[in-house]
Each structure stands twice: as C-alpha cells, then as structure tokens.
Symmetry: C2
Subunit: 413 residues, 2 copies
C-alpha cells in the first residue's frame, strides 16, 4: 500500500455537492488500496467572508486574531469532508493544524513551517483512517494559531507528504496539468506529462499560477514528487519531479511563460560611480516595491542609464520614489512605460543545448518584434517587449521550439 | 483588583455592531480596574448555519466531526471581539477550548468538563490581558475537540470562574434578571435582587429559561456567585448565590414558575401488585421519553390507577407504548390529556414556614381552580391544572404570596 497526500483547493470544496464529489473520488482511491491523507482549503468565499468581518472592525486587524479567525474556514471543510467520507463507509478523521501538530514560527498571517509531528497521523493511518487535514494553518511553540498566508494549503500538503514520506503529493485544481504555454493564447499548447521543479518555479513565477511557489520550492528541497491534476476530470496531470539524468533526448525547452503585469522605469543620465545601483534600488525596496528585471547600460561618457521593471500596480509609487532619487543624484530624467510584457523560454535542457538564446531572438526578429530588455538565468531567457506583440511572440516561440509536438522520449505515465 | 468572568450569548454578539457595543462595555469595566475573562458564544445564527451544512451531508452527522464543525462558531467570535478590544486599546487575547485547556470527557456533542488548566490564563491576566474564551467547547485527553451541548457557554463561564477563583460570574442575556414570575403574564412580577441556587434550579427546570440548569448546578457545587444581567441595559441584575442564614425575615416564596409543555397520561384498572410502576415506566424510559410528575392512586379493590406527565411532543409515542403495556398488564384503559399545565411555588423559605401548601391550595380554590395532581419537594410545590386556568392561577398565587411587594430585608445591591 502506498501513501498519497491529496490537496483540494477552495473551489473543489466550494459547496456540499462538490465535497460529496471529492468524497466519491477519495473513496475510489481507498478502494484501490491507497492510504490517503487529504489536505483541504476553506470553502471558496469563506475566507473572504471572514476577512470582511474583521475589516468591519479594524483596517489592520490584529494579526494573531486574524489567524484565529480565518483558520476556522479550513476546519469547517475538514469536518464536512470527514462526514461525507463516513457516509461512504470510509473511516475518516479531521485534524486541524494544532492537532497534527504543524509547528511554525510565530509570524502571524505568513508563518513558516518548522516541524511536523507525524506520530499521531502515522498511528491513525495504520488504524485504517483517511486523515483530513486543515491546510494553511499551524501553531507556534506557545500554542498560538498561525497561518501560512494565502495559498498556503499547497505548502501544507507538500510538507505533510515530506513528513510522512508519501509516494506522491497530488494537487487537485481547476486545470488538468501544466502546459507548454497558456492554451487560451496558443491553440497548440500541450500538457506536459513531466516537468522539473526548477522549470516549474520559473513557470510559476512568470505567471503560470497553477501552484504556489513556496510549495514547489519545498517539494524540490525534500524531493517530494508533486502532481497537478484536475479535481473533477480524469487524467494523469503533470508530474513535477527531480531532473532526470540529462541526455540528448531531453527536450530543450519545457514551455513559454509570459507576464503582462509589468511596467518599466528608466532613469537616464545617472553619474556613473560605484554604489549608484544601490542608491536607486535601495529607496524602491524600502517602499516595499518588488523589482523584477534590472538592466544597467554601459557607461556613455560619465553617465549611465538604469532600467528596471516592477508590477504595474506599483508603477505610480515607484515613479514618485524615482523622481526624488533623480534630483538627489543629479540625473537627467525618469521615464516610465506600462505597455510592456515579459516573455520567457524555460527549460533545464538549455543547459546542455547551445543556441537557445539565438534561436529565440531569431524567431522574434522574423516576425518583426523589437526586444527592449534581456535577462537570463541558467534555465530561462526572458525578454521585455511591447505589450501589443505579446501574443505574436508567444505563438512564434511556441512553434519555433516545436512545443506542439510530443517529444519522442516523453511517454505519458 | 477583582477578577470577573463575563459571559455574552449569541444574541449579544450577533453582529459586528453588537460586538463593538460589548467591547465598549468591557473597556468600561477595565477602566474601573477589574480583571476580566470573557466567555462568548457563536454569533446568533452561525451554529444553525453550520448544523444545516452538516445535515446536507448526513442525517446523523459523525459526532466527533460535528464538534469540529460547530466549535468554529465560538472561535470566530473570540477573534472578532479581541480585535474590537484592541481597537479600544484594551490588550486582549483569544483562547479556544484546546488552548485554555478545558479538559472534558470524550462524549462528543454533550461532553462534561473534567478539569481546567488555569496556569496560562493566570499568567496572561497578570500581564494585563483581557482573555476572550470560546464557550461551549473543550478537548478530550487525546486532543479531540468536544462540545458541551447547546447553551454550554454558561457552563464554560461558571467553570472558568471556579477555576480562576473569580469574584463573580456574570451572565449577560436579553433579560435584566430573574423575576418572581413571567412579567408577560403578571403585571406585578418583580425582579429578584437575589435568589438561591436551589430556587434557581427549580425555576429553571420549570421553564424560566434564563440560565442553563447545568451551569447553575455547577455554580452551586463550586459556590461561584452567579449574576444574571442585561447585555445592553444598565442594572444590578439578579445575584444567584448560596442560601443566606435562614431567619424569620427570609421571604417564604421566591417565585411562581409554570410550564405549559405538559401532557398527562393515565392507565386505569392496573392490577395492584409489586413492580407495577416499573412495568409501566420502564418501557416509557426505554423509548427515551422523560417523565415529570408521577402519581399512583390508592388501590381500589384489587386494581389501581397510575398517572404521569410527559412533554407534549412525546404524548403520541408515550400513548403508543402505554397501550401496549395496558394489554400486557390486562389493565382497563389508557386516557390522555394535553390540555394541562403545571404551576409551582418555589422558595427555600418554605422549609421553615409551615402552611405554604395550604395557602397555595386555598388561593386556587378561591378562584375555583380544580387541582388534578400534586407533587412536592423540599422547596417547591407543584400542581397540575387545566391549561385554560393557568394565567388565573399564576396571578392569584403571585398576589396571595405578596410577591409584587419588595421584601423588607431584601436590599438592592
């Protein structure tokens, strides 16, 4: 018998009807002889309802009490799903974060898991119970309720899978897997049967929001095989796992990711001297604005140009900060542009395949797309382009790298 | 500084607006230098909402999971009230049953408190916190969530007051105290400034549903002074406490209680032999029907008549059982009557005052009310009468015992 951890998000348990469907699904796995630990989120809408109650009282509710409040959402789901399983003669038992016990630090509303006590769970699994665990929550060492932040249920599932040495951690969601790119944009987008943790991280951070980044990092760190599947449709989904031995058959590129939520800021005519990058990005960071791509041009005469991108919602405040910095540094001018987008090719295969960058640039040039900025990592090349060319760029790259075709060595599992 | 435990029920915390009002009230107590432990129920309607969800899944939901489900209701209130207190610069901290820890037996949905750990609470009180504790819930020794059954928040409050050696346990409700009888029935009904635990028990079980019986028993057992007050109106309420030294000034009667929810069953012509009462009431008890007043008439010839009362909703099933018993015992006939009511005079003073019974019977006779059954305890005399005479009986008794007048020795506190 193998142990599987399964996570169902808020939409999958959003009504009694759906909870009953999920119970059917779990009962089926049970019939096939699997040990099952289920992690659930709050019923969709419930967390927002609770947060709204708190905001009627305080704009900035006390974080400790916020955690006490919202953690009830997942607890409700664990009880209801356990009842639905009992109705199907599946012995089930709910667990909240404190009962497991999922020990976290004391950073309320964004706690990190430190340790998971698996003894009680192992005993109940050995007794034949399906365990239904509340996602997203834990306790600190003083027994205060903590939460892991939005989407933290994925992290709970991966952490439980690691602690219980599960064979697989299955994340059930509203898509049937990870795609080579967004199928709404490219008709030929193809579901990957397998992708590496690193590729998944690059894809996730680029806007393919199937999984929480922290959960993928955690799964990579503890080598927990992670599978993304559709909650209500049958199918093998996508397995996210360690990189296989790299050989010539490894596909060069896993997928094309993109992100529209970018805006570009340039400060022109900055005196070229040591520490200038810090003088520009320091105040931006202090204003809690996250910076993505950063490019500093080669010094021309005694000044340089400095360009970076931020999330679009941060553009106005970033501009304000930058105007202040501009006059302090005696720089010439600040320019901003929110009509840009980022496109990336991602794949561990590019490590051993030269020429990915030039193939990418050639494909874009062929359709007349001008590249504004370039940034690279070991398994990813990203370019900033004009937003209106985004779809054209993604389609051209998808076809140029032959992603619509199933690679010969990648067999469905 | 004195420690006060205050309990607010579901209606008192039924909306954010009311939670803010309660927070104002508690902040006021705090300003006057009191240490405060607050016990709260779920916001009104919330427990029913959760139970309805469970019943969509199962007619008889798994009791363990039912407790996991409904206990979230009180937890939500503790968080919201703590936030409202923080907003008023009152340092507050929420506690659920497992955090306190309120140890109970493992009878899910109707658990009994075994032990309360007061260490953590005492430390927080010493640190200047107002504690906001979830009523109605605890944990068993394996850490499973339990609940005390409906209305159990009163019991939580009394148990905390006992454990913390509080000066007083205040139960805030939608009435401003305990009355000599129902003010809706008798204009001259008067709020008692004081009543004994025993009187309160007799009043409560007779339908004056201000307090949960178990909470009063608990308060009596641990000698916790209990006060019933109105949540949103000022006033001293009613103090429920140990019997004072009985002296001649003690008022004879505390109040007139009544209950319309009674039905009478008589089995006629039962062979008069040992064990017959058991043969009749045994099957009734096995059908989970609670019996109230029981009267067996003196044997006439070789048969006897046996009469008892049950709750009206149990009348049909009790009749069914009794018809079976009737033929088994070769008794003559079963008669039933649901047009009856019970009226009681209650008072510890009647222990030292003879003639209460005769005064009661005289008062009823004077207005032409026929008594069908009589039952007595040390501090209570109850009669069963025709329901249509109920109001007349209560008014006559209230006036006959002079309850509309403030007793001379009973000073408002």
């Amino acid at each position: 018998m193998s142990l599987i951890v399964q996570k169902f998000g808020g939409t999958s348990v959003g009504s009694i009807e759906r909870i009953e469907q999920i119970a059917d699904k779990i009962a089926g796995f049970r019939d096939r002889g699997h040990d099952i630990v289920v992690v659930v989120s709050a019923m969709s809408g419930e967390t927002n309802r609770l947060i709204a109650l708190a905001h009627e009282i305080q704009d900035q509710p006390v974080p400790r009490e916020m955690d006490v409040l919202v953690s009830t959402g997942e607890q409700v789901t664990t009880a209801l799903l356990s009842m639905a399983l009992a109705k199907r003669s599946v012995r089930a038992k709910s667990y909240n974060g404190s009962q497991v016990r999922i020990l976290t630090d004391d950073s309320h509303t964004k706690a990190r898991i430190r340790e998971i006590d698996d003894q009680r769970m192992q005993a109940d699994i050995a007794d034949g119970f399906v365990l239904v665990v509340a996602g997203f929550q834990g306790v600190d060492e003083n027994g205060n309720i903590t939460t892991l932040g939005r989407g933290g249920s994925d992290t709970t599932a991966v952490a439980l899978a690691a602690a219980l040495k599960a064979q697989e951690c299955q994340i059930y969601t509203d898509v049937d897997g990870v795609y080579t790119t967004d199928p709404r944009m490219v008709d030929g987008a193809r579901r990957l049967s397998k992708v590496t943790f690193e590729e998944m991280l690059e894809m996730a951070s680029m806007g393919s929001k199937v999984l929480q980044i922290r959960a993928v990092e955690f799964a990579g760190k503890y080598n927990v095989p992670l599978r993304v599947l559709h909650s209500f449709e049958e199918g093998p989904g996508t397995l996210i796992t360690m990189e296989d031995k790299v050989d010539v058959e490894t596909p060069t590129i896993a997928g094309i990711a993109f992100n529209r939520d970018e805006a570009k800021l340039t400060i022109l005519g900055v005196p070229d001297m040591p520490g200038v990058a810090h003088k520009i990005l320091g105040p931006i960071g202090e204003s809690n604005i996250e910076v993505d791509v950063i490019v500093q041009n080669v010094a021309d005469d005694k000044t340089t140009d400095f360009t970076f991108t931020v999330g679009r919602h941060d553009l106005l405040s970033a501009e304000e900060v930058l105007n202040r910095v501009c006059s302090e540094l005696n720089a010439r001018e600040v320019r901003s542009d929110n009509k840009i987008a980022k496109v990336s090719v991602v794949g561990v295969g590019m490590r051993s395949h030269a020429g990915v960058a030039s193939q990418m640039f050639a494909a874009l040039a062929e359709v007349g797309i001008n590249i504004q900025m370039i940034t690279t990592s070991e398994i990813k090349i990203s370019v900033i382009i004009e937003e209106k060319f985004l779809e054209l760029a993604v389609r051209s790259l998808h076809s140029s790298f032959g992603l619509e075709k199933e690679p010969e060595n990648e067999c469905a599992d």
